[in-house]
């Protein structure tokens, strides 16, 4: 009797009951237990310094699978939003300048591969006006068009393959990870402060693009109201060690990617960039990036811009000696030089010591200060210690001998070693069956970190994804 009453649409639930239903469903936390938090020295202090970077470089290599065709030549003047290159095979994918200034140099590598388009800022920061608009009043086509011409579109990426989203697709869902669990990662609760309006506008746009759900994936420690009280999105809560913040892991637990599915994802600051385009009408490439790592004198946050030189952050702020500069985090980032540039999608720079030294019978020492996921060194006596890790490989490459290790740091229903071997054998059917569409190299970063055999697992996964992408296109 009661059942039929509540099921019937014409009789609404009493308000009290409805609320309790909602609160019971909403705060479901997905608890992940597998993984590893690597505690490193040099976390960024929560203060932001304003930078006005003068040198920029757009790197087509930041965009997996894009074949660049230049739209400018050396000496041209550009504004923020002026097309710099497009994708040869998807000509509506436009990559625009983040800043106003002059094209200083076009740098090519072997076989004339386009490496960098260097831009010198003129300091005026002029932006092309694409027209502010309320996303609610625009059609999906108009939204897409505005994002494409302004060069904001590439902030949206798709899975599988981790490439720039195809505007002709309609994704099954959109996922935003609002927290980063990687070592020394920036705190998005802090970064989003004051950007709530733009963030919400960005979400509204994404909701309209997907026809499906926008998933706002937060941590159980997320407190920022900008995240917890968003509209137009489902909130999913996660807890657990790294890689709980990886969007791929989150997708796997909310709504996994099957063969043929397309899922879009974007970072917090990517959503803000989208929001600013609609609220202000311009491509505003400014972001907040963290500078962290044991070799940084004053690790902190900086307001800088996409593709900007990191020199403003690191000059005079890094200990002397041979250091590794990384655009991104220590597990997945790109090694760069101190006069190089921030990657398009990167929101942090890490500086750690180089490890190019010989260590006398290092493998046989007790190892009180040696970080290890295993308990093969006596560092297990000091579980709370923060470490200063360098780039030494700590051993030579070997065949895969150990088993059952990767499973402990990959919180997915995927057999990591078997998938890696399928990729090495280039067995396309097996890769597909073992779930290659669900993973990205970053999801295997911890496997690579703990690998006793010292293999390059992320490169292997990237290779597997490239094989699949060629096979499917």
């Amino acid at each position: 009797m009661h059942k039929s009453k509540y099921l019937s649409k014409s009789i609404p639930l009493p308000t009290k009951t409805r609320l309790s239903v909602i609160t019971r469903i909403m705060p479901k936390t997905i608890k992940l237990t597998k993984g590893l938090d690597i505690r490193l020295k040099g976390a960024a202090e929560k203060k932001i310094e304003q930078l006005a970077p003068s040198h920029f470089a757009m790197k087509p290599t930041d965009f997996t699978g894009v074949f660049p065709r230049l739209q400018v030549k050396e000496g041209d003047t550009v504004k923020a939003g002026t097309p710099v290159f497009i994708d040869k095979y998807r000509e509506n994918l436009v990559f625009t300048s983040p800043v106003s200034g002059k094209i200083a140099e076009i740098k090519r590598g072997d076989k004339r591969v386009l490496l960098e388009i260097r831009i010198e800022a003129d300091g005026r920061n002029e932006r092309l006006d694409f027209g502010a608009a309320d996303p609610g009043t625009l059609s999906r086509e108009q939204l897409v068009e505005k994002m494409l011409v302004s060069g904001v579109w590439p902030v949206i990426r798709q899975r599988p393959y981790g490439i720039v989203a195809n505007p002709d697709h309609t994704p099954k869902a959109v996922h935003i990870s609002a927290f980063d669990t990687a070592p020394l990662a920036p705190d998005y609760d802090f970064i989003v402060n004051g950007q709530g309006r733009h963030f919400q506008t960005g979400l509204d746009v994404l909701a309209k693009l997907s026809n499906g759900k926008v998933n706002m994936n937060i941590s159980s420690k997320t407190r920022a109201a900008e995240f917890t009280s968003v509209r137009n999105a489902d909130i999913n809560t996660f807890s657990g060690p790294h890689p709980a913040g990886n969007v791929g892991v989150q997708i796997h637990h909310i709504d996994p990617i099957n063969k043929g599915d397309v899922v879009w994802f974007a970072g917090v600051q990517d959503v803000i960039t989208i929001g600013k385009l609609f609220n202000e009408g311009t491509y505003d490439a400014s972001i907040v990036a963290a500078l962290a790592g044991s070799e940084v004198k004053k690790p902190q946050y900086y307001r800088t811009m996409r593709s900007a030189a990191i020199s403003g952050m690191v000059e005079g702020n890094v200990n002397p000696g041979e250091q590794r500069y990384i655009s991104g985090n220590v597990l997945t980032g790109m090694a760069i030089r101190p006069d190089n540039y921030l990657g398009f999608y990167d929101t942090m720079v890490t500086v750690i010591p180089e490890g190019n030294y010989h260590e006398f019978i290092g493998w046989a020492l007790p190892g009180f200060g040696k970080f290890s996921f295993s308990r093969a060194f006596f560092s297990w006596l000091t579980p709370g210690k923060e470490y200063k890790l360098d780039t030494n490989l700590h051993g030579g490459e070997r065949a895969y001998v150990m088993t059952g290790q990767f499973e402990k740091v990959l919180p997915m229903d995927i057999y990591p070693l078997q998938l890696i071997k399928a990729i090495l054998a280039e067995d396309i059917d097996l890769m597909e069956n073992l779930g290659i569409y669900e993973v990205e190299p970053e999801d295997f970063a911890l496997c690579e970190f703990i690998d006793t055999s010292k293999t390059e697992i992320q490169s292997i996964v990237r290779k597997g994804l490239e094989i699949m992408r060629k096979e499917m296109s």
Partner: protein, 385 residues
């Protein structure tokens, strides 16, 4: 150390391509990386790496073997003097044991490493550390009186046929140390079985039968008569292979392996569960005297404990998936007891059970992985409809 490093850097070019000793490149590399962790750094992917490497992993296993080895050395002496009916001081027993055991270890390592170095050079590989463990495992599963040439022959067989023909460390199907033991068992049964071989330089009048043999004899005589108490068997005060007698010493090793995260507790527990399960069933039927031996005796006699901790857990030849490991381990325990009791021609069922399951491990993994694939396909169907 700086002087040593300088010297190595000075002579290094001679061992590299085009150098005078190019042919010894792998050998040089092995010694260099033994002395110094290489200065190689990451350049893409994860910029930081765990401190663990294969050398560390393998040396932890060797450390875990030490209690069994040290006890074994003492016990070889202890059993010898016991058979003579002499009371000998502790150090005499150790001294006698060392004289017996050390040559076997040296021969095992020398033979095996020589072959490993040659293969590494032929394949232009770095020398793999796997044999550091195999070279210790082989002596520990052999009787103390075995002629040294047999040790060398068995080691060579295990390394070449058991491992290198499959592609070297990480590619082999059978556990190399057990391959060596099985080779000896089938090629030289007289030196590997019976009551004479388990005590070094035994007095002829002394029985010298292992508990395993006594249990097997019970099938004929109708009653199992153990010379030793359960406690003695657990402590290892019994004749047997050098390292396998003391369940206690092996348990210490097991603790080290499990605590460091290098040995698989999953496999160890499931082997024990399998052994208890089969032992229990046989107890229920109790058709002969061996079947009536309480199931827990199986855990402390013969090579059951040693095989459980150090052989079944070999990651290369065991099942590789977590679920597979449970099935694999359980079947080892089950088969070991089954072979022991129902096929008395092969009293050491543990060795055969592990080798058998080594062969079946890939099949077990196949079905576990297949289940994962089916799950993934099933998930897709509702999306299609």
């Amino acid at each position: 150390m700086k002087a040593l490093r300088k010297y190595l850097d000075k002579i290094k070019p001679q061992f590299q391509k085009g150098g005078k000793f190019e042919k010894l490149h792998s050998t040089f590399d092995a010694f260099e990386t033994f002395l110094f962790v290489p200065d190689k750094t990451t350049f893409r992917g994860s910029h930081i790496r765990d401190s663990i490497d294969m050398k560390r992993t393998m040396s932890i296993v060797v450390i875990a073997l030490l209690p069994a080895l040290l006890f074994g050395i003492w016990n070889v002496g202890h059993q010898h003097f016991l058979s003579l009916g002499e009371m000998a001081p502790f150090w005499n027993k150790v001294g006698f044991g060392l004289l017996k055991v050390l040559p076997i270890i040296i021969v095992s390592y020398a033979t095996g490493l020589a072959i490993e170095f040659i293969f590494a050079q032929i394949r232009h590989h770095e020398v793999n550390e796997g044999f550091l463990v195999s070279g210790m495992l082989i002596p520990l599963v052999l009787p103390p009186d075995l002629p040294l040439w047999m040790v060398a022959l068995a080691t060579a067989f295990a390394v070449i046929i058991g491992k290198e023909v499959f592609g070297g460390t990480g590619m082999n199907i059978l556990n190399p140390a057990l391959t060596a033991r099985a080779f000896l068992f089938f090629a030289y049964p007289a030196q590997m079985s019976g009551d004479k071989v388990w005590i070094a330089d035994k007095a002829d009048a002394f029985s010298g039968a292992t508990p395993l043999a006594e249990a097997t004899a019970g099938i004929e005589s109708g009653v199992v008569h153990f010379t030793h108490s359960f406690q003695e068997m657990f402590l290892g005060l019994i004749p047997g292979s050098i390292g396998e007698t003391s369940t206690l010493a092996i348990l210490i090793g097991a603790l080290i392996l499990v605590f460091t995260g290098i040995g698989s507790l999953r496999i160890m527990l499931s082997v024990i569960a399998g052994g208890i399960f089969m032992g229990g069933i046989l107890n229920i039927f109790g058709a002969n005297a061996y079947m009536d031996v309480p199931f827990y005796y199986h855990l402390v006699i013969g090579g059951f404990a040693f095989g459980t901790v150090f052989m079944a857990t070999d990651p290369v030849t065991a099942a590789q998936t977590n679920k597979g490991k449970i099935i694999y381990g359980f079947l080892i325990g089950l088969m070991a007891v089954l072979i022991r009791v129902l096929n008395p021609a092969y009293p050491e069922g543990m060795m055969l059970a592990i080798l058998l399951m080594n062969v079946f491990a890939p099949l077990i993994d196949h079905y576990v992985v297949e289940a994962n694939i089916k799950r993934r396909l099933k998930r897709m169907k509702p999306a299609k409809a």
